[in-house]
């Protein structure tokens, strides 16, 4: 079985599977300029953001850390930082430059407004894009992969087919020396004892229970039954009856290997193996955390179809629901619904892994093709 892919070696040693020139909005008032620039200069990836001004404390730290993380992702070749004013522009540019990537920045106020900023942005981006287009990927081992696993639009086929197939592939990545991130903390609730049994150390088991307890305490503090928020209506329509049932099926997608640690939102793993990451469940927020943590690719299982992808990390959509595979075929990258009719796990898993390596080497996912990709950074507190 093939176990290499083509990737771009970055100066910090990590390998990218795309070669984006990113245009990073430091705050939402620059989104217009960022989007205009992405239209005007070929090969650029706009990263607009909501909020980003008037935040402070841990909320601001998480927000900035996540922006730095996605801009520093190995799939990014170079970065243009756009902010309204010079202090935040400078600060973000310096933080991203620590990744070793070429970084330039614009302060809209100092540049002279929208029109001047767009002109300057085009002049800064042109050589970056030209340079990136001259880079060539090299063959690297599966051990260089940081795989994010995600689920959305879950139904009962997720736990029976698509999550087992992805878990099989995740085990292969870990065994080869790569990294796997499993997130969506509310979808550990009901299955946390299963995860804790595989914790590398007692502190890791404690961290798993603590993360889930925080979610449960919050539901109690709000006086609300979490059902309806998680599971969501399409999960329920697809046969999921409780968060416990959803979680027990969901955790399968991370595979069976030992859990090395529980990472904070957007935090990078320092070693190899399987890690949990404490994130919200909805896809845009969760995948933004995975990408900030350095995931180059995300494989996303879905039963009822969730079309969301991550603009930084190409997102492969896999379904085990034969009705979805047919009716929403436009959005399906890999169909493993044949497992319901008896296709062996190893065979479906191997098909998926082959497609993953192909995607890593350049084959586009449907989410990339259609542009169904959004960034959403988690907030801890309201803006002042």
């Amino acid at each position: 079985m093939k176990d290499t892919f083509l990737g771009f070696r970055r100066s910090d040693g990590r390998v990218g599977i795309r070669n984006h020139v990113a245009i990073l909005s430091v705050m939402d008032n620059c989104n217009g300029i960022v989007r205009h620039l992405a239209q005007l200069v070929r090969g650029t990836l706009p990263l607009p953001v909501w909020y980003g001004r008037g935040q402070f404390g841990p909320d601001d730290e998480l927000f900035r850390r996540t922006q730095v993380g996605i801009a520093s992702n190995p799939n990014v070749a170079a970065v243009l930082v756009v902010s309204l004013e010079a202090v935040s522009a400078q600060r973000m540019a310096e933080a991203v430059a620590a990744s070793g990537k070429p970084v330039a920045s614009i302060s809209v106020q100092d540049e002279g407004g929208t029109v001047a900023s767009i002109a300057r942005g085009m002049r800064l981006l042109a050589p970056m894009v030209e340079e990136a287009s001259g880079q060539r990927p090299l063959e690297v081992s599966l051990s260089e992969l940081v795989l994010g696993v995600e689920c959305g639009g879950t139904d009962t086929t997720s736990g029976i087919a698509s999550n087992p197939a992805l878990g099989w592939a995740a085990d292969r990545v870990v065994d080869a020396g790569g990294v796997v991130y499993l997130s969506e903390t509310s979808e550990w609730m009901g299955a946390e004892s299963v995860l804790a049994r595989r914790a590398r150390a007692p502190e890791v088991a404690d961290a798993i229970y603590a993360a889930v307890r925080r979610i449960e305490d919050d539901a109690r503090a709000r006086g609300v039954d979490i059902r309806g928020a998680n599971p969501v209506p399409d999960n329920i329509r697809g046969g999921i009856s409780s968060i416990e049932e959803k979680s027990l099926g969901a955790i399968i997608k991370g595979g069976s290997r030992a859990i090395e640690d529980v990472l904070a939102y957007g935090q990078r793993a320092t070693g190899k193996g399987l890690y949990l990451m404490d994130t919200a469940a909805p896809a845009a927020e969760s995948m933004t955390g995975l990408a900030a943590g350095g995931a180059q690719m995300i494989v996303f299982t879905t039963g009822q179809m969730n079309i969301m992808g991550c603009p930084i990390a190409p997102t492969l959509k896999i379904t085990g629901n034969p009705r979805t595979a047919k009716r929403l075929a436009d959005n399906v990258d890999v169909d493993v619904s044949t497992m319901l009719a008896g296709e062996a796990l190893e065979r479906a898993g191997a098909r998926l892994l082959t497609r993953m390596l192909d995607t890593a080497s350049g084959r586009l996912t449907r989410a990339e093709v259609f542009g169904d990709e959004e960034i959403a950074i988690s907030r801890l507190q309201p803006t002042v």
């Binding site: 086929t157 979490i226 046969g239 009856s241 409780s242 968060i243 049932e245 027990l248 099926g249 008896g342």
Partner: protein
């Protein structure tokens, strides 16, 4: 007979329909067989035995909640008769030994 429901763990008392199952149809899994007491839509769960109110519903070998009322053998198990025990800010729930 072809398997028309998924039975995931030896301790499970529900199976998951892999096709739409009609009332009276035989449900055949890898580990159990039961007759559907009512229509079971694709992807929905069927009780493999009678499940009494308050009894644990088991899937993947673990609890997915408690029966909210008595469930017939071959009955549909879903949000109308399954009470989740987690994330229940709406009521006081039993601690499950965390």
């Amino acid at each position: 007979m072809e398997l028309n429901a998924a039975f995931l763990h030896p301790q499970d008392n529900v199976a998951t329909a892999l096709v739409d199952i009609a009332e009276g149809e035989t449900v055949q899994t890898a580990g159990a067989r039961v007759v559907a007491a009512e229509p079971i839509p694709f992807g929905h769960k069927i009780a493999l035995t009678r499940i009494a109110a308050g009894q644990q519903v088991t899937k993947y070998g673990e609890s997915i909640g408690l029966a909210a009322c008595d469930v017939l053998s071959g009955g549909l198990v879903h949000v109308h008769n399954l009470a989740s025990q987690r994330g229940r800010g709406d009521c006081v729930t039993q601690e499950d030994g965390l």
